[in-house]
């Protein structure tokens, strides 16, 4: 069936040249005067970089903010685990960087599947983020003159990445968290920790609040507001094994989707090439090893399949340095998607290493011989220590074993230029939305986007919408839209607790993750996608019938928390498969085996697929409707990536 464009998908991009667009638009937007801001209530869900920065900034501006996190403290959000750095077009190194170059690199890196206007604005405010974080006391790396240091990162030819050792995400989040806590102390932000969003409430087409569950008491509570902001992260845990934290989930975004918000490009997922492989069947998560290791490590597998020898016993002639062989120009430094796919190819062909034959070697022997043990220890010592803690092996004498893992999701809730979903009053920011990264995210850009949205974009755009509501009260929480939503959640909770099945939630999540990883992972094809589209509903049916959730609804009950999240992952997985099936091209993280060049590289179809696919929920067990937003590229010329 031909997809039909609908008015739902007007991105509301302002007219005019892109370089002045945001500046001009800021002037044309409505303002809410300072004394009127306190008349508006805003709910912000999530306290990662996007949520904490948005809640703090809106509180500073004078809005009455309610901030929600399901963690015990806002500081625990998974932004904290980002290692590498944050991009900013400061051009401090004087190496030719500019806002336009960061914009260009991001559009190209996203394989021409992002919206130019949003990306340009992101590049513009990137410089303000660095200033803001530094003023908050974020201890970025400095040179001996006391000024900020930069390093280079994948996908760029300039050094524009600011970093704080290997803990950039932690330091930026602590900055945003401290700004948030300052507003909590000032009384402008009301903090609700250990509270999980279970529904988004919409009245007469406009978002008017949320329903949460208190994770300690089990109480289901409605909250009303003039606007609702979701900053609830990505859905990488659909794969079960990922570098995401254990509690990361899609529930907030998915429940918004079920209330009418379109879900865009769910098949765009990023697989990170350098993670530690699973060591056994009950592995709970995968740990990322910084991409910087590929600067000095050489990737190889034994030439023979089913090799039994230890790596040190395999002579040079019997090793396949497959990236150096296939990509002489970039070698081990090819982009993330290329490195990941090639690892899968060699492991699938029986060349995998390690006890479960599920990894490839990342070998530092040559670098240690060239630069010496101490130089390598200075560069990667902390990473080597972490690897040793997890595997019990030391990379100084044994090659590391690595394998790709799910890391980031570019897809998410569809938003317009104002970061508002198609549901008026409902916003999505950070990884929870689909914007800015297209089909592939460049390194050090996730932190940038989360903070751009929260500090410098949403606080402007939300006022334009709220200004029209001046004098309108919030919908009272005893309104039928709220009471029926609360009743719905209570029913759902009761249903899970009385299912009386035999197997744990994790059991089903693991099975689902395996299916999604095998068929909607690094490489997809029509046969696999069709297969998984029939396998997922079958497993879901079993899940609904046979899951066992013990305990009660009115205590801390972690199985009960998980079961709802996994139920939403089932729905999402099905949509990912459909999205991947309909996108008959390869782009960025979405690689369709049918669409590759003779050399095995991704082949886009700009003629037919230069668009965003955004899906509309039509009810359970009814196929979703695919809407599209056409993408135009007026400022960046489309080209085919090549790393040969």
């Amino acid at each position: 069936m031909e997809p039909t464009p609908t008015p739902l998908l007007d991105p509301k991009v302002p007219n005019g040249p892109i370089a002045d667009m945001w500046e001009n638009h800021k002037f044309s937007m409505n303002l809410v005067n300072p004394s009127n801001k306190r008349k508006f209530e805003v709910i912000v869900v999530g306290t990662g970089l996007a949520g904490a920065s948005a809640a703090a900034t809106l509180g500073e501006l004078g809005y009455r903010v309610k901030s929600f996190t399901f963690h015990d403290s806002p500081r625990r959000a998974h932004s904290i685990a980002a290692q590498g750095g944050i991009n900013g077009a400061k051009n401090y190194p004087n190496d030719g960087d500019s806002v336009h170059r960061l914009f260009y690199d991001t559009v190209k890196g996203g394989d021409y599947r992002s919206r130019e206007a949003n990306v340009h604005r992101l590049a513009e405010v990137s410089v303000n983020i660095i200033d803001q974080a530094t003023a908050q006391g974020v201890p970025f790396a400095r040179d001996y003159g006391g000024l900020l240091d930069n390093r280079s990162f994948g996908g760029a030819q300039v050094s524009r990445t600011f970093y704080a050792r290997g803990q950039t995400g932690q330091q930026l989040l602590l900055g945003a968290y401290s700004a948030l806590m300052r507003q909590v102390a000032a009384g402008s932000v009301e903090l609700h920790n250990r509270s999980e969003l279970l529904d988004v409430v919409v009245k007469d087409g406009r978002a008017c609040g949320i329903v949460t569950r208190d994770l300690l008491s089990g109480e289901i509570t409605p909250h009303s507001a003039h606007a609702v902001v979701l900053a609830t992260g990505g859905y990488g845990n659909v794969y079960f094994l990922s570098t995401n934290a254990m509690m990361c989930n899609v529930t907030a975004a998915w429940r918004a989707h079920r209330r009418g918000a379109l879900f865009a490009n769910p098949c765009y997922t990023q697989i990170h090439p350098t993670c530690i492989p699973a060591s056994d069947d009950f592995q709970s998560k995968l740990t990322l090893m910084s991409e910087s290791l590929r600067n000095d490590g050489r990737i190889w597998v034994p030439s023979a399949s089913d090799e039994g020898r230890l790596p040190g016993d395999i002579p040079e002639a019997e090793r396949d340095y497959y990236l150096e062989r296939k990509y002489p120009a970039f070698g081990n430094l090819v982009p993330r998607d290329v490195a990941s796919r090639n690892a899968k190819t060699v492991v699938d062909a029986g060349h995998g290493v390690g006890p479960l034959l599920n990894g490839v070697y990342l070998d530092f022997a040559a670098a240690i011989e060239r630069d010496g043990h101490d130089a390598i220890a200075a560069r990667y010592g902390n990473l080597f220590d972490m690897y040793q803690r997890i595997t019990g092996e030391t990379p100084y004498s044994t090659p590391m074993r690595i394998y790709p893992a799910s890391h980031y999701t570019m897809g998410g809730l569809w938003v317009d230029y104002h970061l508002m979903t198609n549901v008026p009053g409902l916003y999505a920011i950070g990884e929870a939305n689909f914007s800015d990264h297209g089909a592939n995210r460049l390194g050090a850009s996730a932190l940038m986007q989360g903070l751009a949205d929260g500090y410098f974009v949403l606080p402007y755009t939300i006022g334009d919408d709220l200004a029209d509501l001046l004098g309108d009260p919030v919908v009272p929480t005893n309104d039928p839209v709220f009471t029926s939503a609360v009743a719905g959640i209570e029913d759902e909770t009761g249903r899970w607790l009385s299912t009386d099945g035999t197997r744990s939630v994790d059991h089903f999540h693991r099975e689902l993750g395996r299916m999604v990883w095998d068929n909607i992972g690094m490489a997809r094809n029509e046969r696999g996608l069709r297969q998984v589209l029939s396998d997922i509903p079958a497993l879901r049916e079993e899940f609904c019938r046979d899951v066992r959730v013990l305990g009660s609804a009115n205590t801390l009950n972690q199985s009960l928390e998980k079961v709802g999240r996994v139920a939403d992952f089932f729905d999402l997985a099905e949509l990912m498969a459909r999205d991947a099936l309909e996108r008959e091209e390869s782009c960025g993280g979405h690689f369709r085996e049918e669409h590759q060049t003779t050399e095995g590289e991704a082949r886009r179809d700009d003629e037919n697929f230069s668009h965003v696919a955004a899906w509309e929920w039509n009810g359970p067990d009814i196929a979703q409707t695919r809407h599209i937003e056409e993408l135009t590229f007026d400022n960046v010329a489309l080209s085919q990536r090549s790393y040969k």
Binding site: P74, R75, R76, L550
Partner: protein, 256 residues
């Protein structure tokens, strides 16, 4: 490298904050490649299969940075391995036949919620009282306007590395939170950006800290348990700044 060991798990169970707790004993066979929390995941799966409620314990990132996990393992906060959060501890640190005693973090300031989960929100209240630099979004000058000596920036980072897990409190015989508080105060006091509010911040944070936690008597157990090896020096700096703050914050600010 991949061995299976048999251990005996003695784990604390407690229904709710007011219920009396008790130890429960479970034999467990586990590969030494598993992490400590994966061993508990497996035990929970077995309990669930038998129709018994799983053990509540908290964790999130499982890479030692979010600070959510934290257990007393054989009487030590985060267990036997130095500079390692519970989530990064692996079973190869244990021997076949070991008995492993698992308890929640024990401190008056951290009441038990259920089983191994405790309430650490007092740490947030300490931050709320002053653990920030007051700069509104958009009010920041250019990041390179103020150079910071590299040594100072590095030292500030050493303090800022704190993950807020609360192991320092759990390890302390007095349940004091000096290492946590001093890390946050030290991080900001070492940077030029932190100077304007230095004295008011120090006094406010110490006072909130003392309303929840015991007093520091320089045992040093906190540093031993800290997964980020935060230095005891920061406690000395905190004490110094607190005394100074007490003088400077009086109505003599013109004479600073």
């Amino acid at each position: 490298m991949n061995d299976t060991i048999s251990v005996t798990i003695k784990v604390w169970r407690q229904e709710n904050p007011d219920a009396p707790g008790r130890f429960e004993t479970h034999p467990q066979e586990i590969t030494t490649d598993a992490s400590f929390l994966e061993m508990l995941d497996l035990l929970n799966e077995q309990l669930n299969d038998r129709g018994e409620e799983p053990i509540v314990f908290e964790s999130d990132c499982r890479e030692g940075i979010c600070g959510t996990c934290g257990l007393m393992i054989n009487g030590r906060a985060h267990g036997p391995q130095k500079a390692t959060a519970t989530c990064q501890l692996h079973m190869r640190e244990f021997e076949d036949g070991d008995e492993i005693v698992i308890e929640p973090f024990r401190a008056a300031g951290f009441p038990v919620i259920r089983d191994l989960a405790v309430d650490r929100s007092p740490l947030d209240h300490i931050i709320e009282s002053g653990g920030f630099i007051s700069v509104g979004s958009g009010a920041a000058p250019d990041a390179n306007l103020t150079p910071v000596a590299r040594e100072a920036a590095e030292k500030a980072f050493d303090a800022a590395a704190c993950i807020g897990c609360g192991a320092c409190v759990a390890a302390c015989p007095n349940s004091a939170a000096q290492l946590f508080t001093s890390a946050k105060v030290g991080h900001m006091a070492l940077l030029p950006q932190g100077q304007p509010e230095r004295w008011s911040r120090t006094e406010a944070m110490v006072e909130v800290m003392e309303s929840y936690f015991g007093s520091c008597t320089n045992h040093g157990e906190c540093h031993e348990a800290c997964p980020k090896e935060i230095s005891l020096d920061f406690i000395a700096y905190l004490n110094r700044d607190y005394v100074k703050a007490k003088v400077k914050n009086r109505a003599l600010s013109g004479q600073r």
